[in-house]
Amino acid sequence: MTQIFQSRRLQEYCSCSLQSNRPLCRLNYFLWQVEDFDLTLVDLKAREHFSPEYLAMQPFHQVPVFESGDFRLYESRAIVRYIAEKYKDAGPNILGSTLEEKALVNQWVDVEAHQFNDFAFAPWSMEYYLSWMMKRPLNEALVAPLYEKLGYFLDVAEKHLSKTKYLAGNFFSMVDLNIAPSLLRVSVLQPELINDRKNVKQWYESITSRPAFKKMLEVDEGWRFPYGPFTNEEAQKLRTS
């Protein structure tokens, strides 16, 4: 199924469902802050990303792909960097202004990618998704150590956020943008991870109440729940609904 928005120049192929665990909606909601674009949905369930047409665009059969004229780019972080660079005077500068600010943004972007996403969040949330989808019990032995790692990352964030308003400094940056959709999932699945950490909770509320983020959620038909943040009791109710 395809959704088309009025576009001027940009075209983007994306699977925009948080249920599919693709952290690419970050890209969409950033774009909405800056300019309209065409969104074409790629049906991952139907393996559309393995079709010859798609592979000609993105040979690693991944989403998203960004097209502007005859310029084509893939890898979400590379795309976000390109757009952020191109429009840095038009909207919030999410890359940082000085050399040092940029370096710290890049550091935290990579920390989020590896320490948060690859080692903890992605396998943890995938297990929840699979157990829900296949109607089987959660593999506790799998999620328990991943939960610990998530907790450790958020402890580091908690300490850091006592010194700065956002992760990379006192300005909203690419790492806050990247992590927000994942934290929304955390707030449904195990909200105490967020709620029990004062600075993390405040930061979470701030980054998920941005207009572009809300706009992204409105478009995502795969997302069943309201926005959050949720209390532990509310999340429990949502999970069992």
Binding site: P59, F60, L99
Partner: protein, 213 residues
């Protein structure tokens, strides 16, 4: 006070930064972190790098970690000195970034799993898990097929210029091909192999490799 790198010759991520410093012609001091003795897990180290990993860069007041963030910082700071590593236009820069991400997401993961099994595990006196090696090799070979196509059409990954994207592949691939003896999968792909021969003949790479042996 100049640039300080805290790291280890055992870490391909440290080596990536050192090779780049050579390409840029930038002086630095290397402070060795003893990974075997767990120096990267001490409270002092964790204060600097809370995830207990090398390398860490210190440049004046700035402390920076994550090797690709460090290499981006250095490439930007010393742009105009030594080898240009980022591309000239915004679009070239974007393609460099794309292939840095490809290396990080698609290439490095199976590669490090294989290296862990065939290089590091035996060095710890343990047995290689051949099932993991086979599975990860299959994944890596699919990625290498894509690289072969890309390198048929371009001399380097992001275009016809050597960049940070190519540089990032050097230390890990060295471990896989030269130490892990898995070079056959490169030899079977002529353009990939030519690219590897080219980038691994760079003086910066040879200089750093001489220090690791």
């Amino acid at each position: 006070m100049g640039i300080i790198v805290l790291g280890s010759y055992l870490s391909p991520y440290t080596l990536r930064v050192l090779i780049e410093l050579e390409e840029l012609g930038v002086d630095y001091e290397l402070k060795l972190v003893n990974l075997k003795q767990g120096e990267h897990r001490t409270p002092e180290f964790l204060k600097m790098q809370p995830f207990g990993q090398v390398p860490v860069l210190q440049d004046g007041e700035l402390t920076l970690f994550e090797s690709r963030a460090i290499t981006r910082y250095l490439a930007e700071k010393f742009d105009g000195q030594g080898t240009p590593l980022l591309g000239k236009s915004m679009k070239e820069k974007a393609l460099v970034n794309q292939w840095v991400e490809v290396e990080s997401q698609n290439y490095d993961r199976p590669l490090i799993s294989i290296v862990e099994q065939v290089v590091w595990t035996p060095s710890w006196g343990k047995t290689t898990n051949e099932e993991i090696v086979a599975a990860e090799m299959a994944k890596l070979e699919k990625v290498l097929d894509i690289y072969e196509v890309q390198l048929t059409n371009h001399k380097y990954l992001a275009g016809d210029f050597f960049s940070l994207a190519d540089l990032g592949h050097l230390p890990g691939t060295h471990l896989l091909v030269n130490i892990g003896k898995k070079g056959a999968i490169f030899a079977a792909r002529p353009h990939l192999n030519a690219w590897w021969e080219d980038i691994s003949s760079r003086p910066s790479f040879k200089k750093i490799m001489a220090k690791t042996s």
